[in-house]
């Protein structure tokens, strides 16, 4: 790998290859899209969204987003309200690839009318606890759904290395060094000492957890809530622990 061992895995499935004489290859690809459902009144909801993105800055970065407009006001004002939501999201740099819950033709001759309507996909990960008010979004995979993957790393994660895998869990067999970081869409399991940073729950949110054999971490974070080493005392240092979200706080508990 030419880069500094960064892993950005995107499972792509070759669903249908056409062995035509002209060799036109058509492939199916499944990518993880976030579904976001604006609520009305829109201003309140947008304020909550801004607060959320401020806490986890790259939540929507480089990520396709499907907008569920099912909650838009019915009747004559509907199309205008939906349009307003799409413009507001677009202005925040969110890459809208499709809509659901509304007929895009209702939006008339704007550029939004050409957005594809996404067929209902299988929701791969459901959240256990309801999200914070207003941020009504749950990640779903557009059809055909890929199995939730996990990334297995069988060597130590060295200082300066960054392992980013937003498709699911990361399992590390070995140490995560001081100055290294592991960022997962799901949970993080470290079978060794965790000395660097572990950031879990990028896509599954508060349901993600962090497990390690020896807590010597610089920082742990689940779904935007974080704690640095100075927050936990010597009691937990060096112990096998799990880290999870309990409503709004991070709880670190000893495993053995």
């Amino acid at each position: 790998m030419g880069k500094d061992w960064q892993v950005h895995a995107v499972p792509s499935i070759v669903a249908n290859e056409t062995p035509a004489p002209q060799t036109i290859v058509i492939r199916g690809r499944s990518v993880l899209a976030l579904v976001i459902a604006p609520q009305w009144p829109l201003d309140t909801w947008l304020a909550a969204l801004d607060a959320q993105t401020e806490r986890s800055a790259n939540l929507f970065e480089q990520r396709p987003v499907v907008v569920n407009l099912g909650a838009a006001p019915q009747g004559e004002r509907g199309p205008a309200a939906a349009l307003e939501a799409l413009v507001a999201l677009s202005a925040r740099g969110i890459k809208v690839i499709g809509v659901e819950g509304i007929d895009p033709l209702l939006m008339g001759q704007t550029r939004w009318s050409r957005l594809p309507v996404i067929p209902p996909g299988r929701e791969t990960i459901r959240e256990e606890a309801p999200r914070e008010e207003g941020a009504g979004m749950a990640p779903v995979a557009s059809a055909p759904a890929a199995p939730v993957a996990s990334l297995l790393i069988e060597r130590p994660v060295r200082s300066g290395q960054s392992i980013v895998f937003d498709q699911g869990d990361i399992i590390v067999i070995g140490a995560v060094s001081s100055g290294a970081e592991v960022v997962a869409g799901g949970s993080i399991h470290v079978y060794g000492p965790l000395r660097g940073r572990a950031i879990a729950g990028l896509t599954v949110g508060a349901a993600a957890r962090i497990f390690c054999r020896k807590l010597e971490a610089e920082m742990v974070a689940v779904d935007g809530r974080y704690r640095t080493a100075e927050h936990w005392g010597p009691d937990l240092h060096g112990r096998a622990v799990q880290v999870r979200r309990d409503k709004d706080v991070l709880r670190i508990s000893v495993l053995d």
Binding site: M1, K3, D4, V157, R158, G160, Q161, A175, S178, G179
Partner: protein, 273 residues
């Protein structure tokens, strides 16, 4: 079979150049044909440590850029026949080196030498990455303190990702050389323990070199420590490390505080006075 060995650390001042010169001299004394290449373009030191500063005419940059032929730039050591130096340029900077140019020089050196020892500059920038780029073996020089250990950890990650060997999917042989180990301070718990360093870095230990005034004395007279004072603890540690590189099995011993009864008495009396 020639071997390209990079001596690297990330952090400065840990003893890379001292170690490169000492290991080079020890390998040459063991009968190997050795060249030590200084990659620290702009801040060259290896010529001083090896006592060849007045004999430098052409350097690595001249050879890489095709201004000089390799034999013109190579300096043969006056004390050990099989030891050679390829100096760096002091007037240029690291951008004067190019990857294809360095690759060509390394290939040419492989034809002549058993060991090509690349003395890496500190840091993780171009000079350091080029020094490790074509290596088969790496000696990671580390002091028993946290910042040095973390920088070494970073370097090990780069050795596993950015070297030509790693990119071909082959494994990189890595050895830890623990230098400036102070037995007295370790006994007082003021330094990291050997086992703690090994636990973090998780690579095999090539040797432990004690902190010693002999190193500074040797570098001031421009002589690799293994040649200057072969009986010293430091020289013996480097000599054993070189023999381990050649495949001998020698148990690594942790330097202990070895002082005579007299020096202890005098030391204590001096402290009381």
């Amino acid at each position: 079979m020639s071997k390209v060995m990079v001596v690297t650390s990330g952090k400065g001042g840990v003893g890379k150049t001292t170690s490169a010169a000492a290991l080079g001299a020890a390998l040459a004394q063991a009968g190997q044909n050795v060249v030590v290449v200084d990659f620290d373009v702009g801040l060259r030191n290896l010529d001083l440590i090896m006592g060849a500063e007045r004999r430098v005419v052409f350097d690595l940059v001249n050879v890489v850029q095709g201004d000089a032929k390799l034999p013109q730039a190579l300096i043969r050591d006056r004390r050990v026949d099989k030891l050679h130096l390829l100096p760096a340029s002091q007037t240029r900077d690291k951008d004067a080196l190019t990857e294809p140019g360095v690759g060509k020089v390394i290939d040419e050196l492989r034809e002549q030498f058993d060991w090509i020892i690349c003395d890496s500059p500190a840091g993780i920038e171009k000079g350091a990455t080029l020094a490790m780029r074509f290596a088969d073996v790496a000696v990671v020089v580390t002091n028993p303190e946290v910042s040095s250990v973390r920088d070494s950890d970073r370097i090990i990650g780069l050795l596993d990702a950015k070297t030509a060997r790693a990119e071909r999917g082959e494994t990189m042989e890595k050895h830890l050389l623990l230098t400036r180990y102070d037995a007295a301070r370790a006994a007082r718990g003021e330094m990291m323990k050997v086992e703690d360093v090994l636990e973090i870095l998780a690579i095999p230990l090539l040797g432990i070199v004690a902190e010693s005034p002999d190193v500074l004395t040797a570098s001031n007279v421009g002589c690799p420590i293994t040649l200057h004072n072969p009986a010293s603890v430091v020289a013996r540690a480097y000599d054993e490390a070189a023999r381990r590189l050649l495949g001998e099995t020698i148990v690594v011993t942790t330097p202990s505080e070895r002082r005579s009864l007299m020096s202890r008495l005098f030391g204590r009396r001096a402290a009381l006075a």
